[in-house]
């Protein structure tokens, strides 16, 4: 856990990096990318449930951040600012995919049975311990449940429960009010509780 002093120090250096980026320093931007790439990728992956798509969307998000870094005024943290870009890119992508897929994408995208048995990416079940299999099943259940939420509900639940972000930070990242964030959290939690009750009760 970061102390206030280290937090302040990292904030100062982050602001310094941002200023260097605004002056066109790509190395400074590279450092910011290194700092956030794993979290950004993980966040997007949990929303789209595809490694390749998450990779591409994370690349797009950072590229947009580089292009618009001149407009960053430091009124919010860089972390909140980059999350706003990430959320815009990812929610737009999910909406377009939903429209193209006729709305069924959220419910049925995660089908483990659709994986080609000959594919190299398929885990070799005979070599995996029972616990790992069980964990894979749990993860698949969670992903399938999250896939049934709207893009905005996914965003709030992941930012709150995984990233531990405050209501106002989520609101800033999504460009909506705190009340809207709390309301979306309410419905997202209710839905996930209904879908995953047997999972969290038995784990």
């Amino acid at each position: 856990m970061q102390t206030e002093a280290t937090l302040a120090q990292s904030d100062v250096s982050e602001l310094d990096l941002v200023k260097r980026c605004q002056a066109g320093d790509t190395e400074a931007f590279d450092k910011l990318v290194t700092r956030y790439r794993t979290r950004v990728f993980g966040m997007i992956y949990n929303m789209v449930h595809s490694e390749q798509d998450a990779w591409d969307l994370a690349q797009d998000s950072f590229l947009k951040a580089w292009k618009s870094i001149g407009r960053f005024r430091g009124q919010s943290s860089f972390y909140t600012w980059i999350y706003r870009i990430v959320m815009n890119v990812t929610i737009d992508w999910l909406r377009k995919k939903q429209v193209k897929g006729g709305g069924s994408e959220f419910d049925d995208a995660i089908q483990l049975t659709e994986i080609d048995p000959a594919s190299k990416t398929v885990p070799r079940t005979e070599a995996l311990p029972h616990e790992t299999m069980e964990r894979d099943e749990i993860r698949a259940r969670i992903e399938k449940a999250i896939a049934q939420l709207s893009p905005e509900q996914r965003a709030v639940i992941l930012m709150k429960e995984i990233e531990d972000m405050q209501y106002h930070e989520i609101a800033e990242a999504l460009g909506c009010s705190i009340g809207t964030v709390m309301s979306r959290l309410f419905y997202a939690r209710k839905k996930l509780q209904n879908l995953l009750r047997d999972v969290y009760e038995n784990v």
Binding site: D30, V33, W66, I138, I142, I162, Q193, L196, R197
Partner: protein, 174 residues
């Protein structure tokens, strides 16, 4: 004024305190059921945190490398695009715009004058001639024609007739 959903969410996340907390808890119809749901929400949070937070980014360095490549490519494209825009906009300087505007106005005036002249050619002419061809009574003179030439300036009118057998007393050119 907070809605029930907002208060419930804040209560689950332990964000209510003091008077707001006691007021909300007093408003709950079944506090035991609410506490159970709060415990469930915590279990859900723990489950999500445990299962979803460990999604690693493989090939981290390649990720950064690919991004650097894209940024370099975009940076190369940008000056070219800006240069193209500058070249286009440089042609329309203010003196050129003024010159083009004046030339357009002159051309417009020339055409306007020409069109007015075309519409009233008689006023420019010294002799305004009005020719009327009319047939006189077809029973008396079946092949007769009559023409009138008029010069307004000289107040002269010439009546020209052809093929008349006789001129009726009550004749009038029509």
């Amino acid at each position: 004024m907070k809605t029930f959903e907002e208060k419930w969410t804040a209560w689950l996340d332990d964000q209510l305190s003091g008077h707001e907390l006691s007021e909300f808890e007093a408003s709950l119809p079944d506090k035991a059921a609410a506490e159970t749901e709060k415990a469930e929400a915590r279990k859900l949070r723990e489950l999500l945190k445990r299962e979803l937070s460990a999604q690693p980014l493989t090939n981290e360095e390649f990720f950064s490398h690919q991004l650097r490549e894209k940024i370099t490519q975009k940076s190369r494209e940008l000056p070219r695009a800006v240069a193209g825009q500058t070249a286009t906009s440089r042609w329309w300087t203010i003196p050129r715009l003024l010159w083009a505007g004046s030339a357009s106005l002159a051309v417009f005036l020339v055409f306007t004058v020409a069109v007015i002249h075309e519409k009233n050619p008689a006023e420019e002419s010294q002799y305004l001639t009005q020719i009327l061809n009319a047939r006189v009574d077809p029973i008396v003179s079946p092949n007769a024609t009559v023409a009138i030439f008029e010069v307004k300036q000289d107040r002269v009118t010439v009546l020209w007739t052809e093929g008349l057998q006789s001129l009726p007393a009550d004749y009038a050119a029509k």
